[in-house]
Amino acid sequence: MTLQAVLLVAAALFSVGLYGALSQQVIVMVMMGLELMLNGVILAVGAFWWFLAPAPDGQVLLLIVIAAMTVEMAMGFAVATLLHRSRGSDMTDSATDLSG
């Protein structure tokens, strides 16, 4: 188990998540993609921490990533609910009129 190996796995997770986040139409599925990307990030940060600089600070960074995930989820659910309520749909495409 080397740093490179762990980073490869993390990159794979990140890419799969990216594919999901880009290709899915339903907002909850997009959130799943984002979660998977963050999953890769967590793994990568953990690997950097262990193989490069195992100081306590790195762990704090991980905690922050996890906190960011919960915020993302909570807001995602809230927005999904709002979209579903106002349009009876939660397709990301149908929310494009929100832009510009």
């Binding site: 609910t81 579903h84 309520r85 009876g88």
Partner: protein, 396 residues
């Protein structure tokens, strides 16, 4: 061989019984329940948990078909009995046990239905055993969101509809009954559900093939009308307590019911009923969990006849107060010597009352969740026997 027969012997010590109640045959059901308690057998909550299907009474065509469908859902080893007379009930159950432990027969039975149960069912339902009455699956205003919809596995896809929070949610058509624990015999409530919230409901009654012989006068000669009223009240109270999740109290009410059927000493009996009522009155948790569950105006019509119901109208329709009212009335009846019939039962028309309740049911259930709905139905104390009589009248 030794191991399997030992397993079978052990297994037969506690048989789980699914009871199919038939309107008008409550007496048979109570008889069976008392016998089950005596043997230490258990009442199954669903067909998947049952070894023995006991049909209490002679079901009509639709109810008969429903119980056949249930029979298919018993996992096996399985056996079925029909309880119609109090005579030889014990022997009947003994024979059922013998049948259950008969490995060769059970193996034969299993082979005969080696195909999955679902495949035998010509019109697969949405998977729940409650919706056994397929005949009426697509009647009236309930459609499955268009007939052109694809139906994977024979299951129509759910349609949508706004829920009470203004979110569009899938709706599901589910029939509650006719066989559920603590459920009025023969009643079917066809519900449209969003989650566990009932959007709309329709109630109907599946009939018996015939009423029990001579049940009106002779077969129960030693059971006076007052006593029959006590039995009914205890039965209703027991069901309501069980649905409120208070098993010890429910069991207590059921034993008092069986005591009344056996003709226990009335003063002791009245005291015991009174103790149960006080216990129900004192329970803070029961008060809290039943609070605000009320029969509304429907309850007023039916509820004013509960004899000693509290004068306060608001309180009379609250199901907790109804429960306490039932127990109080039962205690009063038991106290005033069992010979006399209750004044309430005398001047009210149970048939009319039950009919009103059945008609009011859909409105009552709209917007409630399943748990509350069950409590409300139990709180109505629906007398399906009386309803069955009206059906007979109209048929004549």
């Amino acid at each position: 061989m030794g191991v399997t027969s030992m397993l079978a012997r052990w297994a037969s010590k506690s048989v789980h019984v699914l009871i199919v109640g038939v309107p008008g045959w409550d007496e048979s059901r109570m008889l069976l329940e008392a016998e089950l308690d005596r043997r230490g057998w258990r009442v199954a909550l669903s067909p998947a948990d049952a070894d023995l299907l006991a049909v209490c009474g002679l079901p009509g065509e639709v109810l008969g078909a429903a119980s056949d469908l249930l029979w298919n859902q018993l996992p096996g080893p399985r056996t079925r009995v029909s309880v119609t007379t109090p005579v030889a009930l014990s022997a009947l159950l003994d024979a059922a046990v013998a049948h259950l432990v008969d490995d060769s027969w059970q193996r034969e039975d299993a082979r005969a239905r080696s195909r999955p149960v679902a495949a035998e069912d010509p019109r697969p339902n949405t998977g729940e055993h409650e919706s056994m009455s397929h005949e009426d699956m697509d009647h009236g205003d309930m459609d499955h969101g268009g007939m052109d919809m694809p139906t994977p596995g024979g299951i129509p896809l759910a349609g949508g509809g706004d829920d009470r929070d203004g979110l569009e949610m899938d709706v599901l058509n589910v029939s509650l009954g006719p066989v559920l624990p603590h459920w009025p015999a023969g009643l079917v409530v066809d519900c449209v559900l969003q989650g566990d919230v009932i959007v709309s409901a329709g109630a109907r009654l599946l009939e018996a093939a015939s009423a029990p012989k001579e049940v009106s006068e002779k077969a129960v000669t030693d059971v006076t009308r007052g006593r029959r009223r006590i039995i009914r009240l205890c039965d209703d109270a027991s069901n309501l307590l069980a649905l409120a999740g208070w098993q010890t109290a429910a069991q207590n009410a059921r034993r008092l019911r069986d005591d009344a059927r056996r003709g226990a000493d009335s003063t002791d009996h009245a005291a015991a009923l009174d103790r149960l009522r006080r216990r129900a009155e004192r329970s803070v948790l029961l008060r809290w969990s039943l609070k605000g569950i009320s029969l509304g105006e429907i309850g007023l019509g039916a509820g004013t006849n509960t004899g000693t119901a509290t004068p306060d109208d608001q309180a009379a329709v609250d199901i907790r107060h109804r429960l306490i009212g039932w127990l109080r009335e039962a205690a009063v009846l038991a106290g005033t010597s069992s010979g006399r019939q209750s004044p309430a039962a005398g001047d009210s028309d149970p048939v009319r009352e039950a009919q009103d309740a059945l008609e009011a049911l859909p409105e009552l259930l709209r917007g409630t969740d399943l748990g509350t709905a069950r409590l409300l139905i139990a709180g109505l104390g629906l007398d399906t026997a009386a309803l069955a009589q009206t059906h007979e009248r109209t048929h004549d």
